[in-house]
Symmetry: C2
Subunit: 347 residues, 2 copies
């Protein structure tokens, strides 16, 4: 017979009350940035960026729309929610220092599940040296909703917008593309198998890289640090959350330029390529439309090429041309195809 | 026969796509603060607070938990959502200059309903001279969720925390308390009547003040301006979103002091008092626990009393005492009753 004290009863959020829940989940967060003057516990956080400019970005994630808890563990979800937000600050060539996290949860969540979520948030804060300085914790009528605002800073002269790309600039991307999307395909397939046969124990070791890209993506702080080290200021930059085509369109339209982007140059992982073969998907299409890779897409003046050519994690995939010449993909068969995209359609 | 062009078909959000929706709803927002260096349209907004410190606060509102669209028009909801956030920045004695707005909407919302919501958001931005500098627009599986982050700034020496109240300080409140809660009682009653008899046309003119307090509250920027004008720096401050008792507990606990708060001094509107009689509610209880008034509760050194005594909109309701003497309400019958509250229980 099992003893009673071996079973941990989940703690109902209602039993703790709002302030009790906040106390529990924010325990263990320690501020590490000098710019965090006052954190959680007052009406507003106080931040001091001295002579830097502040950078602010915000995102909302909704259960059943942006994530499925059937294959996204809460801890990974917390990590990914933070990382996807930080990525927006890095893509301005800024340093990210603070976040606020607001969540709404239905009554199927208990304290232990929220603690799992915040373990992931805390892990991301630790990895990227971010302070949690505020938020809101409330009830939803259905599912989990997470809204994160990330805050950073940069010197005015270092901030890189989407709108600065110039004709003849090189188009560069970090890492590889499409793997996060392929990770999602694997998870969705396993979830369908699980529904039919819950006893099935899948061996996902062949897909480890793809799953990591989907479940525990990283933001490219290292690339921003590389820029600082090499004294490179990209002329324009954006992070790849919606897929390469959507992002290159943003840069070209906001910079009022065109581009030639070479299909054969797009960096793909070997796992992503074999996944595409297995799932009978076209790898270029996935790289163009897949999203959630959180790599950086940027343009640099050609004079900076020597500074990046030794970095194996950065790939030149094209160059900026006059806007009248279009926004093109140059295919492996050397055809020019206009790049079109409506971005990620959340509606 | 009605002509076809007289009927305006609601516009489905899915037909516009994410970027189309964002373009439509952010049209007409014009930045008016010098600190807004870069607004909507890049990965992050760029703000410049010069030698001021930045203030950040965030809130999430969920349909069916924080508001009911049966009696809260979308335009009012947008206005109130902004105002309740700004109030947090003013309660730090700061100037509020920017907001980000993230929304998740289910498919029962169309473009026209979102435009109504953003009309209210824009009206609040205009009234308080706030720039909308970012946000996120996405789908929910149920209802409307609004998450707003408000951003402001202040000189370090002017920032007022919850934790600075000192023994013998006066406790002061702006405006009157409990009217917003009574407005909600009226709306809920009318909604029940409407369910039984939809033909009933209620005359709510007697409740105009209460309804205004519930549906279109204002943040007390004017009080912050008054402080600047009179060179007053409160020793502690908080806005009254959850009810007087919850807020006075926050100030006393975070300042490590006690207080005597006088029941007979608590400012109540005549409409609120007659509403309490009609609904058979105890007016002091409503003032203590009602919430959503967005008045400011603050403490000042006694030497500043002369500066506030001519302001009819500020009422001294008590004073700070040693923490060992407790956090008390002194009733009209001169009994001392400990003030307890769990704040507004959202779970």
């Amino acid at each position: 017979m099992k003893k009673n004290n071996e079973i941990k009863t989940p703690t109902k959020l209602a039993d703790l009350g709002e302030f009790g829940v906040i106390d529990k989940i924010t325990k263990g967060f320690i501020n590490s940035n000098n710019s965090s003057v006052l954190g959680i516990g007052d009406d507003a956080a106080v931040l001091d960026f001295k002579d830097n400019q502040a950078l602010i970005s915000t995102d909302m994630m909704v259960e059943g729309v942006h994530f499925d808890l059937a294959y996204m563990p809460l801890k990974h979800l917390g990590y990914k929610a933070v990382v996807s937000n930080l990525s927006d600050i890095y893509s301005m060539n800024g340093t990210c220092t603070q976040i606020t996290v607001s969540i709404a949860v239905s009554n199927r969540f208990n304290l232990e599940s929220l603690e799992e979520l915040y373990l992931g948030i805390r892990a991301a804060c630790k990895t990227y040296k971010i302070d949690l300085v505020g938020g809101d914790t409330t009830t939803s009528t259905k599912g989990l909703i997470i809204s994160i605002t990330s805050i950073g800073s940069a010197k005015s002269k270092d901030i890189v917008k989407r709108s600065g790309a110039q004709i003849n600039d090189l188009i560069v991307v970090s890492g590889d593309l499409g793997s996060a999307y392929m990770g999602l395909q694997v998870l969705e397939r396993e979830n369908e198998v699980f529904k039919v046969n819950p006893q099935n124990q899948p061996d996902l070791s062949d897909y480890a890289y793809l799953l990591k890209r989907q479940l525990k993506p990283e933001a490219r702080k290292d690339v921003i640090d590389f820029f600082a080290d090499k004294k490179i200021t990209p002329t324009s930059m954006i992070d790849i959350s919606d897929g390469l085509s959507s992002e290159v369109l943003h840069i070209c339209k906001q910079s009022n330029v065109g581009c030639d982007l070479y299909e054969e140059k797009i960096p793909l992982s070997k796992e992503m390529k074999s996944g595409c073969e297995e799932f009978k998907l076209h790898s270029t299409t996935i790289a163009l439309s897949g999203g959630e890779d959180y790599e950086l897409l940027f343009t640099i003046n050609q004079k900076d090429y020597d500074k990046i050519k030794g970095n194996n994690d950065l790939t030149v995939i094209g160059h900026i041309i006059d806007s009248e010449k279009g926004i093109n993909l140059v295919t492996k068969s050397e055809d020019k195809v206009p790049i079109t995209s409506q971005g990620w359609k959340s509606f």
